[in-house]
Symmetry: C2
Subunit: 214 residues, 2 copies
Amino acid sequence: MALTFEITVTLDGFVTGPDPNLEQPLGAGGEALHEWIFGLRSWRERHGREGGTAGPDSDLVAESLARTGAVIMGRRMFTGGDGPWEDDPNRDSWFGDDPPFRVPVFVLTHHPREPEIKQGGTTYTFVTDGIEAALEQARAAAGDKDVAIAGGPNVMQQYLRAGLLDELELHVVPLLMGDGVRLFDGLGPDLPKLERTRVLEGDAVAHLRYRVVR
Amino acid sequence: MALTFEITVTLDGFVTGPDPNLEQPLGAGGEALHEWIFGLRSWRERHGREGGTAGPDSDLVAESLARTGAVIMGRRMFTGGDGPWEDDPNRDSWFGDDPPFRVPVFVLTHHPREPEIKQGGTTYTFVTDGIEAALEQARAAAGDKDVAIAGGPNVMQQYLRAGLLDELELHVVPLLMGDGVRLFDGLGPDLPKLERTRVLEGDAVAHLRYRVVR
């Protein structure tokens, strides 16, 4: 029943490359951040692909997928856009007709939109009355599983500031990015306290898990 | 015979708090970064104190001290000042008559100064002809042990850019600092490639070690 957030971060603290946009949603060079995950057996299985590498990284992703009963994401994470849906060139989202979530997804937006049912168990519900309302709906949908914030960093920060985030996991990749979006930038004063709860050594990635202390 | 650098870093990437100065060399709130080390048995022993906690963190510090045969540091790391030595109010350095290094220390400076011999095996040699000359002298002094860069970040970056750094270890503490000096800021283009070589889970700190790939 925890509210969780996990993200891949470079050694110099970036979660995207510079200048993210519709063509490069992860910014210039940002794909390199996520290369560690594309070859994992558990990730490939979730995306309908064969093969891949077993091991601690794959096990970690499998565990994360298994414990997640609902997902919350921001509008920009969903399409890269903002404003009215009819003006959004990517209004059908990045994730296609058979999205990898396979659980109810709650999209934070200022613009109402009818729910959608996709293949494989993914549903999209568009929530216009704020982060607490989205969390309430997501918790109800998740049952006894966790709710995962899929991003972006701004949405994570909103939940962290509101004292609603329970767990944070950083997948630290051995890369220097030099420029881009930083996970914790602009978090403001009254910084939350964290307690390290787990360190896992993956093949190239270090997985650092923290509990938010309240 | 490796050239190494290790430093404590917050989860949001800072190695000092904001506004480091003579009164607060680690910046506002920066002492909190290093609290993990003050209670360790190996650190206390090196600083002439009794007691302390054994365990993986203490072992890691002991290993690091044992393998270090010489130290390189920047002028600001040494006194917090710059310019001619006679105008530096902290010209005798932060480290007192019995410094914890107990090996030859090479201080990078633009201002010549006679070498000094302190208690316990620490000597200070002031190097005015650049980072490569300092490294050459430090290697000769270290024998078959490693040379450690004691900081600051700017000195580490100079060695990293010059292709001279072999190993980098980050001690990641479960703190958010919000503002301060970042380890990798201003490193510029041509970012080096790193390979993760070790992850150690300490009591509260995650220790991430990288090899610089050349």
